[in-house]
């Protein structure tokens, strides 16, 4: 095995034993990038010089014996988190030249933990999309089949991990943007509880839904990343001052006696039969681990997507009002007046999907329609949250498929936004209710495409998710495969 193929905890062992240096690990990652990046396109920007310099510094730290949780570990950052002095585009033309004057809190935390930043990962423009096809910088391809999408919006963060172009990465999840690409690329992806990870420096899409979380090669690495990312931040008014456990303690614990809720609404017509079979097999593995699976009902599941496509665009149209050609980013020249400059800058700067969502949101919030759309959606959102509150009385954790189908073909759904939105049908409820969710690989289709199983738990119960996910991972005996590139 090459160094770039290993997990964080395997590399930490090698670093401690003197079998690997940070520079060697980083070089191995960039060798891989040189070999495959032209085909996969995980990154908008690579930071090779900076990474090698950071790795050299990490090696000095290692020599002194002051090893931190991520010392010398190459990490990719979704290009939605602000990096001081390094362009941060959010996958958009309108921010193509934006250089943040500060670091996001997660970037500070990762750097303080010793991480080496490999590059800024590709994404759907402003995180609006399920396929990474809406990026201004061109699509990312699924390393398991280059003609297929990697999922989205954090597609580049998922492929960078899946194709061993980094060791772990950071994504953001508003309606499934970490879990869906994790499932379609065969890696682990966690969306933490709303308020668990600071969003200071995360470019806002839908503020009542957005969360930052990790992509990793296994569940233990996910716990290691969460130990670094989680916690209260006085700079972020929605971050919650709740105690953060050591997440690594949950790895390897059994789940004997746990009740696992299987929501009947998630196993309906329209799921790909191979996905359904793999997830049903995952249920038998969980039972072998000592979990007791019980059927539950989340009766408002069928309304989640409709609620989401009011709430998210409404919040987005407000958040994206700031891109007006005045303070940063693109400005078109030769405008007649200020209004003309706004309109033409936004016309040129935003892609079709972003415009579409701004339009939906603006309409839903406009005079005369607010109650019918935003008001109604906010009420149904409360019912969706109540569904989960009732479910926790019957089970400890919920198990569902992460996605209804494996990765689809590039271009297949670009002209039909509604079909594209339906690929997030199993991940959206989590964000609406603010609960945490994790996607873990659970097998492959006969064509060799990865499939994911999703576990959900109550607010701030990421520990439970890591415990069941690690128990599942250990007992599932999923064939270890790597994409052939």
């Amino acid at each position: 095995m090459e160094l770039n193929q290993l997990t964080i905890h395997e590399l930490q062992e090698k670093i401690k034993n003197g079998e690997a240096s940070a520079v060697k690990i980083t070089e191995s990652v960039f060798q891989r990038i040189e070999a495959v990046e032209a085909r996969v396109h995980s990154y908008i920007r690579l930071l090779k010089e900076e990474a090698l310099a950071a790795a050299a510094k990490a090696d000095e730290v290692i020599k002194k014996g002051e090893i931190k949780p991520l010392t010398g570990i190459p990490i990719a950052l979704k290009d939605i988190v602000c990096t001081k002095g390094i362009p941060t585009t959010c996958g958009s033309h309108i921010l193509h030249n934006f250089v943040p004057p500060y670091d996001a809190t997660v970037v500070e935390k990762l750097r303080d933990a010793g991480a080496v930043f490999v590059g800024k990962a590709n994404m759907d423009e402003f995180a609006m999309g399920s396929s990474t096809e809406t990026s201004y910088f061109g699509p990312t391809r699924n390393p398991w089949d280059l003609e297929r999408i990697p999922g989205g919006s954090s597609g580049g963060s998922a492929t960078a991990v899946a194709a061993d172009e980094c060791i772990a990465s950071i994504g953001s999840d508003t309606g499934g943007s970490i879990r869906q690409p994790a499932a379609l690329c065969g890696v682990v992806g966690l969306k933490p509880t709303y308020g668990r990870v600071s969003r200071f420096g995360l470019i806002a899409f839908a503020s009542s839904l957005d969360q930052i979380g990790p992509f990793t090669k296994d569940v233990e690495d996910c716990a290691i990343m969460m130990n670094v990312l989680a916690g209260y931040d006085p700079k972020e008014s929605t971050s919650v001052p709740a105690e953060v456990p050591n997440y690594r303690q949950f790895i390897g614990r059994d789940i004997k006696g746990w009740k696992i809720g299987i929501p009947k609404e998630y196993f309906v017509k329209g799921i790909d039969p191979e996905v359904s079979a793999a997830v049903k097999k995952a249920i038998t593995v969980i039972e072998k681990c000592g979990g007791k699976c019980v059927e539950i009902s989340l009766p408002h599941t069928q309304y989640c997507l409709a609620v989401y496509y009011i709430i998210a665009p409404a919040e987005a149209c407000s958040n994206l009002a700031r891109y007006d050609g005045v303070k940063y980013g693109l400005r078109v020249s030769d405008s007649r007046d200020l209004l003309d400059m706004y309109k033409r800058t936004r016309m040129q700067g935003f892609g079709a999907e972003v415009k579409r969502r701004i339009m939906i949101g603006t309409y839903a919030l406009s005079a005369g329609y607010y109650d019918a759309y935003y008001g109604k959606a906010s009420q149904v959102r409360a019912l969706i949250k109540r569904d989960f509150e009732a479910a926790w009385k019957k089970c400890d954790v919920i198990l569902t498929p992460t996605t209804p189908t494996p990765a689809f073909k590039i271009g297949e759904k670009t002209d039909d936004p509604l079909q594209m939105y339906l690929s997030d049908i199993f991940t959206i409820s989590t964000n609406l209710a603010g609960i945490p969710g994790i996607s873990v690989p659970c097998g492959f289709t006969s064509a060799g495409l990865p499939i994911g199983v999703q576990f959900l738990a109550g607010h701030f119960e990421e520990g439970k998710l890591l415990q069941i996910a690690s128990a599942y991972e250990k007992n599932a005996d999923i064939e270890k495969r790597r994409p052939k590139l």
Partner: protein
Amino acid sequence: MKLSIQEVQYVARLARLEITDKETEKFTAQLNDILGYIDKLNELNTAGVEPMSHAIAVTNAFREDKIVESIGTEKSLSNAPDARGEFFRVPKVID
């Protein structure tokens, strides 16, 4: 059809977006599709349900009224397409 072409043009004006005739046509069809789907919500009786705006009960996040380091004018203007002195410069607002 819930939305006419004229309404789509009106919403685009509200959103400060200039859209072409071709985009207007495409958006009209797509927005009608999406809004048609969203109509599902009207199947539910939500009388008396308190609308939810945040997943976690958040209270106002106050901090002590202490001066802390800020980014400063120069850095704040560093990304501006057209900065002059301490100001963001914009095209004329009215004739």
